[in-house]
């Protein structure tokens, strides 16, 4: 057994955990989920719901697993008849005033009350003759509704606002079974991170207006992704119904965003569902863009690039204007397409990033909605792209070729050729020689590098429309045949083998929560 660990058994399963670990967390490591409501690993312990009662040998009475630290030799039983009876009674008490309106409740299917009642509740009620507590629905804030009747008073929302957001606008009002969650009469639940209370609420008491009645939980497909809202790189889950993203929720990552995302990120998904997409490659013919198949488009693009490369020695330059929302793989391949393997060709790369206000989450160190509102600013910088496009645009005026990667807001067309890769066809790209339709972040896999140099993968959530393909693929196809990556993983591994900053990383090893790039490793000039 490793030194300094505490050994205990939970339902007969031995585990060793760090001193100070709570029984509920030790149980998780033993593969036992102790039913709970008020406990949440991202919030201070409250110990109020009394749902997590377990039997601990030698303790005079049942103990709450969420507030009891482990001790050496502890024997925990979550399934003793005493413990099960106690939890069953808590469920019964919670249900007597609960409306049981699951058929119209957004939480149904992902409700911890449903789940635990199903798992270990009583089959019938003994509270048949009495009216249930009634309180009207309250409008708490821009995106949050409070359905008081469903509230089990676990106080997760109150603790989030008080201890994590540190804007204590919620409280428990009244006492006894008249209690409900109150909001300060002069305040709104409009903190930039307030939306987390909806995720934290174990029942359907706090609802997102944005998601209201949009889908039933069981209709949703879920994909691990990374928020595109800023350089923080919060881990998220994209919830998709019938190929439409309907909700973004935080995905726990203790290194980046713990259990939370900000409201800006939460609401930054509609653009992923845009219908005005380019669905086929376009090439210019007789001054008009004409839809062609990929083979033709790629042949044309390769020929164009070969032609311009010949002129480079005589001052012909290549410019890439890229989006800081593009994958690291695409950014790398765009550079390689223009600069070549050993960067033997002259090239200029630049991006611009929309700026906003910073909004920190006070209770979590190093977590904020960052002013740079794009996910891959760091990745672009590490690959040699300049933040700010003005000098690149000057070069573009006389460049032999300009390649634009999904940046609709920079009119980059100069005297030379223009290759545009994008999800839509903006006005600025109408004059392009070649337009390649690409997938958006929800339709491909890839990585972003967050502001702290953490490389994180995102996964596809829905198919790309028409013939749109991931940008890494389209750009890869522009390389010489032996160099073309066959997957995002190959693209990343090629990058890791080429760019010092990424040395030692592998796509597979990034997992779902990412890895930091080597400290101090620079970018080869």
């Amino acid at each position: 057994m490793p030194d300094g660990l505490i050994n205990l058994t939970v339902d007969g399963v031995p585990v060793s955990v760090a001193p100070g670990t709570l029984v509920i967390e030790a149980a998780k490591q033993a593969g036992v989920l102790v039913p709970h409501y008020c406990y949440h690993p991202g919030l201070p312990v409250a110990g109020v719901c009394r749902m997590c009662l377990v039997e601990i040998e030698k303790a005079p009475k049942l103990q709450i697993a969420c507030a009891t630290p482990v001790t050496e030799g502890m024997i925990v039983r979550t399934q003793s008849s005493q413990a099960k009876d106690a939890r069953q009674s808590v469920l019964e008490f919670l249900l007597i005033n609960h409306p049981l309106d699951c058929p119209i409740c957004d939480q149904a299917g992902e409700c911890e009350l449903q789940d635990f009642v199903f798992q270990e509740g009583r089959a019938g009620t003994r509270y048949a003759e009495y009216p249930k507590r009634f309180n009207p629905v309250e409008d708490f804030g821009p995106d949050v509704l409070y359905v008081a009747n469903r509230c089990i008073l676990c106080t997760r929302c109150v603790r989030f606002m008080e201890d994590v957001a540190q804007e204590p606008v919620l409280n428990v009002s009244e006492r006894g079974d008249r209690a409900y969650i109150g909001i300060h009469p002069d305040a709104r639940l409009d903190h930039p991170w307030a939306g987390n209370v909806v995720d934290l609420c174990p029942v359907g008491s706090l609802l997102s207006k944005d998601f209201l009645h949009k889908a039933r939980a069981w209709e949703l497909d879920k994909s691990a992704s990374v928020c595109t809202g800023c350089t923080q790189g919060c881990n998220v889950t994209l919830d998709v119904r019938d190929n439409v993203i309907v909700r973004v929720r935080p995905r726990p990552n203790l290194e980046v965003n713990r259990y939370f995302i900000c409201d800006h990120g939460r609401m930054s998904y509609r653009w992923m569902n845009r219908g005005d997409r380019i669905e086929a490659p376009l090439v210019k013919q007789d001054g008009e863009l004409r839809a062609v198949d990929w083979d033709e488009a790629l042949d044309r693009a390769r020929a164009l690039l070969r032609g311009t490369r010949g002129r480079r020695g005589r001052g012909g330059a290549a410019v890439a204007i890229v989006s800081p929302k593009a994958s690291t793989e695409a950014l790398f391949l765009a550079r390689r397409v223009l600069a070549g393997k050993e960067r033997e060709h002259e090239w200029t790369g630049a991006f611009q990033v929309t700026m906003g206000e910073e909004a920190p989450l006070a209770g979590v160190p190093n977590l904020a909605l960052r002013p740079e509102r794009a996910p891959n600013v760091k990745g672009a910088e590490l690959l040699g792209y300049t933040n700010g496009v003005s000098s690149a645009l000057r070069v573009a005026q006389t460049a032999a070729v300009v390649l634009v990667l999904d940046e609709p807001d920079v009119p980059a067309h100069g005297a030379g050729a223009l290759i545009y890769l994008g999800v839509t066809l903006p006005e600025s790209a109408r004059g392009a020689d070649i337009v390649l339709p690409i997938a958006n972040v929800a339709e491909e896999e890839g990585t972003f590098v967050n502001r702290d140099g953490r490389v994180q993968r995102y996964f596809p959530a829905k198919p790309a429309p028409g013939m749109a393909r991931p940008a890494w693929w389209a750009l890869g196809e522009l390389l010489e045949a032996p160099d073309r990556p066959g997957s995002a993983a190959e693209a990343f591994d090629l990058l890791a083998g080429t760019v010092d900053a990424f040395a030692g990383l592998s796509y597979a090893a990034l997992g779902v929560t990412g890895k930091g790039i080597g400290q101090g490793a620079g970018v080869p000039a």
């Binding site: 312990v45 719901c49 709450i64 106690a86 808590v90 008490f93 006492r175």
Partner: protein, 425 residues
């Protein structure tokens, strides 16, 4: 009735000696009666020696839990790295209990003296006396006494603040009180941490009841052995205790007797017995939170910690509630449950929902709509409400229900079967 009554010959008046004597309320009057001598001596004594003496005396907390006071004091950190706090629990809100109120009304300096000694013993810089919000008169009296004694300089550098509660029973629970003092909602805290480690403002804290502290100067003055000798029974129950006797009794009031005094004598002799033509039906000896005794149990119960436990109840706060044969026990138990349902702080599921549900079932029985299975349900709910929550308010609601159904089942059945006419609940 009102106070003062002339001490009954069988009373042992130590704490209540100056009840009814307005002069004892003044600083000068108190000093003339030997007041603040014990404090003066205590301040010149090593705190550890005081704690030892209080330990030896065997005095136990009079707020309800009966925890040995000297032991509690000894839990305060020996190494002083943070400021220490003393909280005096003067929130007395337990139905049937009104002893602390009389102590504060008549002998405010006794409380201040005991408080200052305790503060010295636990090396507390700051003391909060948390006074029940409704106690306007006692508060005014305490305020005056505190001002007088402070002017006279008896407290040295100690800071003693009076903190007025806002009318919540739960704020009498010690950790809820600490939250309330901090300006937070008066919710009990989960333990650990225990107050001696992290109490009010996160600092080491001791909480004591008014009556507990008032006994301390007497213990120091007369010695632990003397205090221990003031017991008729068990060596683990020492000293005198004020019993607030109320209900169906000829002479309700506060009576001070030594530990181990027979409850029967308290009721029939000191309390003047039942009203004419009435007989005793039941008695709650320790404030509303403890199990109810029937007549036989009451008449054979000795009033100390062990004697009460022997009868299946607790000494609690010493609030003795007396019911004669005219009492509707179902109604009384419903009223108790309703009190707890009203006062539950709402944190714990069992307490928040259980106290209210229990009340509703009892109300329903009273209105003639109950069923026999309701009694089993009440007992099962009580079981689910006992020993599972943060504080014992939940248990306190269950206790009278369980003992009531056990001992007065026929009264419940009479409502259920229709033998008894329904009443408005």
């Amino acid at each position: 009735m009102g106070y003062p009554h002339k001490p009954h010959p069988r009373e042992t008046v130590v704490l209540s000696k100056h009840f009814g004597d307005p002069e004892a309320r003044t600083y000068k009057g108190w000093v003339r009666r030997g007041g603040y001598e014990a404090l003066k001596n205590a301040l010149a004594t090593d705190p550890a020696a005081i704690i030892e003496e209080v330990k030896t005396s065997g005095v136990r907390g009079r707020g309800g839990a009966g925890f040995p006071t000297g032991l509690k004091w000894s839990f305060m950190p020996k190494e002083k790295t943070k400021p220490h706090y003393l909280c005096v629990n003067a929130d007395e809100s337990e139905p049937g209990t009104f002893k602390d109120r009389e102590i504060m009304r008549w002998t405010p300096h006794a409380l201040l003296e005991g408080t200052a000694i305790a503060a010295h013993a636990i090396r507390a810089e700051v003391t909060y006396i948390y006074v029940r919000g409704e106690f306007t008169e006692p508060l005014a009296i305490l305020e005056k006494a505190l001002a007088e004694a402070s002017t006279a300089g008896v407290f040295g550098n100690m800071k003693i603040y009076l903190h007025r509660g806002a009318g919540a029973y739960i704020c009498g629970e010690e950790t809820a009180m600490m939250n309330s003092i901090e300006g937070k909602r008066g919710n009990p805290r989960i333990k650990p941490p225990f107050p001696a480690a992290a109490g009010v403002f996160g600092m080491p804290t001791t909480i004591n009841n008014v009556e507990t502290l008032v006994a301390v100067p007497h213990i120091l003055k007369n010695g632990a052995a003397w205090y221990k000798g003031l017991s008729l029974s068990n060596p683990k129950s020492t000293g005198t205790k004020l019993f607030s006797v109320c209900g169906h009794l000829a002479k309700p009031g506060n009576y001070e007797v030594t530990m181990g005094f027979p409850l029967k004598d308290l009721l029939y002799e000191l309390g003047g017995g039942m009203r004419p033509g009435r007989t005793l039906k039941a008695c709650i000896p320790g404030g509303s939170s403890v199990p109810i005794l029937n007549r036989e149990e009451s008449e054979s119960c000795l009033l100390d910690y062990e004697g009460c436990v022997e009868k299946g109840t607790m000494l609690g706060s010493g609030g003795v509630i007396v019911f004669d044969d005219s009492t509707d026990m179902v109604y009384q138990i419903m009223r108790l449950a309703r009190f707890y349902a009203h006062e539950s702080c709402a944190q714990c599921t069992q307490c928040r929902e259980g106290t209210a549900w229990t009340t509703r079932i009892l109300e329903r029985i009273l209105t003639g709509q109950g069923a026999m299975k309701d009694l089993d349900l009440l007992l099962d709910l009580a079981d689910n409400m006992t020993g599972k929550t943060i504080c014992v308010l939940s248990d306190s609601c269950a206790a009278p229900v369980v003992s009531g159904i056990k001992k007065f089942k026929s009264e419940f059945e009479a409502y259920i079967t229709g033998k008894k006419r329904p009443v408005a609940a």
